[in-house]
């Protein structure tokens, strides 16, 4: 009997090409005659476009087209980019046009597209385009934007509030009335972004004989992109094929349909040549969607034992200048706040505010880290005020495993009530704290302090909604050549789907995963699909792969039983053959079965056989399934410089059944790195006029190899009851509680000085300013 592949660290099939430099990222696809795009983008955060003169740019040799919105098909002049997630709460859902129409609303907004023989020429030409602006006042900080009488982000509006959404359950007024203690705090989470290493990219070709477009796009969601193209360019289903080749990281910001993408097929048709756009890093800083700012004003009501009675507050979310992604992130933020704790009553108002900055959408964590930050900091404060140990106060509030399934009382972004299905939250925290030696640390900390060193320990728990629906498509096909293919709408940017989905299918088909070729991200390979984001693929595509393989297995057995005239129960599958158990010579190859199921022209199919050895599965989860975990970290703070060094980082991670341990481990570590960035480094800054201030990697800091500590990962497994394989998502757990954990640790290290920290990222400069005189350290003589 073959050992199951699921659960093993099957080696990655993606590696061979990538290691040899034979990856096929969009820009690696080089077709002779390809033309290149560059854009003229707004240098102002808010301005009216008075005139555009493209004559000089057109006169440059090698420049083919210079287009403004007036050169686009009428449909695109009248209709902006469609809203991906409509929500009745959106009162001012401003959406961007493919090229700016009349007024620009953020620095970086595309106004003119230049097509030339090389990118360098296109940039030369874009410098020659003359745009006359009437500069308008801009609003930058969402805290200012939400005020009465604030400068308006869009001139044809009356306020900057895009949406106000209340979330509530239980009786919050009563809870606060009878509370023994009310903690009131405000938190601030700064803007940041995905900052994948490969910038956005697209390559479009038009075949005039077939009247068909092929677009290679560095996207997380090729099928969704295809739908946008069909809607916006009025195309038939067979007229457009979107392919996500190798994609160099996505982290959420390669999920939206961006304005630039619309121009690719249009220009491919207009020029009769392949047309390519490779975003450069400056464009990436100024026009790829980002995440946050968020301001949280929160109040937590507790009894004298530290048990939560209620929580209320307000979340102010910086939407940026447009809302093409609706309210996803903000919604997730608000509904994630209760976390793994019993919160009997809850009331929050989420206000989504328009500002003259790049629009915001989900970036790894998608609003959850901010919610976790708020909740965990509130608990730390409560512990302090009540004199209860931080771990203990959490223990007193955990949802217990025997309370599963647990209805929180809120509606999640998928329209379903937030219902935790499984997980042992107390055990997760205990495991983390035992491993980091929470009790022993207290002594270590005291010893360190006596020698002038400031070390601190932080902890945070999280619950993560994963496996978002509606489905993911997987077709498994055994062709008449005997080769086995798995086609899926899942579209990886590093998540190893080509390896893991083969593992799942291989177990049902009785073979080594290497016998199954997985094709991802191609709308021609599988007719429908959703894509890879929000930690959904393992649950959706994984179970679809399982069910499709199961269906094929059953079909093989049925056909074999009929053809070989044996009982179905006597048959086994191994290494591409179906044979009678105990009599391996009595067998048929999958190829033969496939040929039988393909039929012979002129003959009927045998009894009990339906055509084709393939099966499409679109496993559709009833609701999200909830992963959980705990992070604990020890840091050392140099109080003189404010420098923070992470000494230890412990992760307890429960994502249900693990398909490939190495892959999951990599996702966790990678996720923690993003979390460390959120905690200490990544701050996308704007000035009061909406000018981005951090527009290169010298100013916007990403963690380097020397900034990541050793990370210890421990696994728990609570199988999900919501899908056949018991899988939960693993893509974001590493990020979610990291900022909360690390800020908690810094605060703990600075306990002797009573420093309270309510924002992230936290800079050494901020630490020093909070410490005041204490930061003088040894340079001070009393």
């Amino acid at each position: 009997m073959r050992t199951p592949s699921v659960g093993r660290s099957s080696p990655r099939v993606e590696d061979e090409n990538l290691l040899r430099g034979r990856g096929q990222f969009v820009d690696d696809i080089q077709i002779p005659g390809t033309l290149h795009l560059a854009f003229v983008r707004s240098p102002h955060a808010h301005a009216r476009i008075k005139s555009i003169d493209t004559s000089s740019s057109l006169s440059l040799t090698g420049v083919i087209h210079v287009w403004t919105i007036d050169d686009l098909p009428k449909g695109l002049q009248d209709q902006p980019i469609p809203l991906v997630h409509p929500n009745p709460a959106i009162k001012q859902g401003f959406l961007p046009y493919v090229l700016a129409k009349g007024e620009v609303h953020y620095v970086g907004e595309p106004i003119v597209v230049v097509v030339a023989q090389t990118r360098a020429l296109a940039e030369d030409a874009s410098e020659l385009v003359s745009v006359e602006y009437e500069v308008l006042p801009a609003i930058s900080d969402c805290k200012d934007a939400v005020q009465e009488g604030a400068v308006l982000c869009h001139t044809n509006s009356s306020t900057n509030i895009a949406a106000r959404v209340p979330f509530s359950y239980g009786n919050v007024a009563q809870a606060f009335e009878k509370a023994h203690l009310v903690i009131k705090e405000s938190f601030f989470q700064h803007r940041g972004g995905s900052f994948f290493m490969e910038c956005r990219a697209g390559l479009a070709q038009y075949d005039s004989h077939l009247d068909q477009y092929t677009v290679h796009l560095g996207t997380q969601v090729p099928h969704q992109m295809k739908r946008f193209y069909m809607d916006m360019l009025e195309l038939g289903d067979q007229q457009i094929r979107v392919i996500a080749p190798d994609v160099g990281g996505g982290f959420g910001s390669k999920a939206p349909f961006y304005a630039e993408y619309a121009l690719l097929p249009l220009l491919a048709k207009a020029t009769g040549k392949p047309v390519k756009w490779i975003e450069d890093r400056f464009e990436n800083f100024t026009s790829t969607f980002q995440e946050r700012d968020q301001y949280w004003d929160m109040e937590l009501a507790l009894d004298e034992h530290g048990r939560i009675l209620g929580l209320q507050g307000q979340l102010l979310h910086d939407s940026g200048a447009y809302l093409p992604r609706g309210l996803i992130v903000q919604w997730i933020s608000a509904t994630t706040v209760p976390g793994p704790y019993v919160v009997p009553s809850f009331q929050m108002e989420m206000i989504s505010v328009l500002t003259n900055r790049v629009p915001t959408s989900a970036v790894r964590g998608a609003g959850r880290p901010q919610a976790i930050f708020a909740m965990e900091r509130l608990l730390d404060r409560a512990a302090q005020k009540l004199g209860i140990d931080r771990a203990e106060i959490r223990r007193r509030n955990f949802i217990q495993p025997d309370q599963m399934p647990y209805k929180v009382g809120l509606i999640y972004r998928d329209g379903k009530p937030v219902t935790y299905d499984s997980g042992d939250y107390p055990a997760s925290q205990d495991l983390a704290l035992n491993h980091i030696d929470y009790e022993g640390f207290k002594i270590e900390q005291a010893n360190a302090l006596s020698t002038g060193r400031h070390i601190g320990l932080g902890l945070a728990n999280y619950v993560e909604g994963t496996g978002l629906g509606p489905y993911e498509a997987v077709t498994i096909r055994i062709s008449t050549t005997g080769r086995i293919f798995l086609y899926t709408g899942a579209s990886p940017q590093g998540q190893s789907h080509q390896t893991t989905l083969a593992q799942i299918a291989a177990d049902q088909l009785g073979m080594d995963p290497s016998m199954i070729k997985v094709v991802t991200g191609d709308t021609a390979a599988v007719p429908m699909g959703v894509g890879t984001f929000a930690a959904r693929t393992a649950v959706n595509a994984g179970n679809s792969a399982h069910l499709a393989a199961l269906a094929i297995r059953e079909k093989i057995i049925k056909i074999a039983a009929s053809t070989m005239e044996v009982k179905e129960d006597d048959l086994e599958l191994e290494d591409g053959f179906v044979f009678v158990r105990g009599t391996p010579d009595l067998r048929k190859s999958f190829r033969e079965i496939a040929i039988i199921s393909g039929g012979v022209p002129g003959f009927s199919l045998p009894d009990g056989v339906s055509a084709g050895l393939e099966h499409l599965s679109t496993f559709s989860p009833k609701q999200s399934t909830y992963s959980n975990g705990t992070h604990a970290a020890i840091v050392e703070v140099d109080i003189e410089t404010g420098h923070i060094k992470i000494l230890r980082y412990v992760v307890v991670h429960d994502c249900g059944r693990v398909i490939n341990p190495k892959v999951v481990h990599g996702q966790v570590i990678g996720g923690v790195a993003h979390g460390i960035g959120n905690a200490f480094y990544e701050h996308m800054r704007y000035d009061s006029q909406g000018q981005p201030l951090t527009t290169h990697f010298g100013d916007y800091l990403l963690p380097q190899a020397s900034d990541i500590p050793p990370i210890e990962v421990l696994h728990m497994t609570s199988l999900s009851p919501l899908n056949p394989l018991g899988i939960k998502g693993a893509g974001e757990g590493g990020t979610l509680p990291a900022a909360a954990t690390l800020i908690s640790a810094v605060e703990d290290a600075l306990k002797p000085y009573g420093i309270l920290i309510n924002e992230s990222p936290l800079s050494p400069m901020k630490v020093v300013s909070l410490l005041g005189k204490h930061a003088l350290g040894r340079t001070y003589s009393s």
Partner: protein, 164 residues
């Protein structure tokens, strides 16, 4: 004005003579002229390291060198790392073993930086390896697999790079 220059250089052991625009940088030359698309462009301002190649055995940011500056030089890219028989080099194999890549975009740059380190024949500590890698950004892996791969090769085969 015609700002083209004739460029003659060796890349992965093969001589090339081309006429190139003066302003074309080395990584664009390798990718677009020689079709060696393994080296990647990540930032064009010399921070991310995705474009790292070896010029006369030393790691450089190929986005900060004009192709014409490589006149007469010996350039090694990721495509030149595999063993003579086509099998993955010890470094490449170690990356595979230790899950040192996810999306793979930063990987060629990482490999070239480590190849230089390997050629120095020392046995560095983990901190030293992390410091050496600090000029190459990765957004997927959190660096752990990369560092583990590097340590394995550097400490097991301290001279593994010397013959390359």
């Amino acid at each position: 004005m015609n700002n083209n220059q004739t460029l003659s250089l060796t890349v992965n052991g093969v001589n090339h003579v081309r006429e190139v625009p003066s302003r074309m940088n080395l990584v664009d030359f390798l990718r677009n002229e020689l079709k060696l698309t393994g080296s990647h462009v990540g930032c064009e301002h010399g921070v991310c390291g995705a474009c790292t190649v070896l010029v006369d055995g030393l790691s450089v940011r190929a986005c900060l060198m004009f192709a014409v500056q490589a006149e007469g030089c010996n350039v090694t890219t990721v495509e030149g790392l595999a063993n003579a028989d086509g099998s993955l080099s010890p470094l490449q194999a170690a990356f595979h073993e230790h899950h040192g890549l996810q999306c793979g975009f930063c990987t060629p740059g990482m490999l070239m930086t480590l190849q230089e380190l390997l050629q120095e024949g020392k046995m560095p500590s983990e901190d030293e390896v992390r410091e050496r890698l600090s000029g190459n950004l990765c957004r997927c892996t959190g660096y752990e697999g990369i560092v583990q791969a590097a340590l394995e090769v550097l400490n097991r085969h301290p001279s593994a790079g010397r013959d390359q």
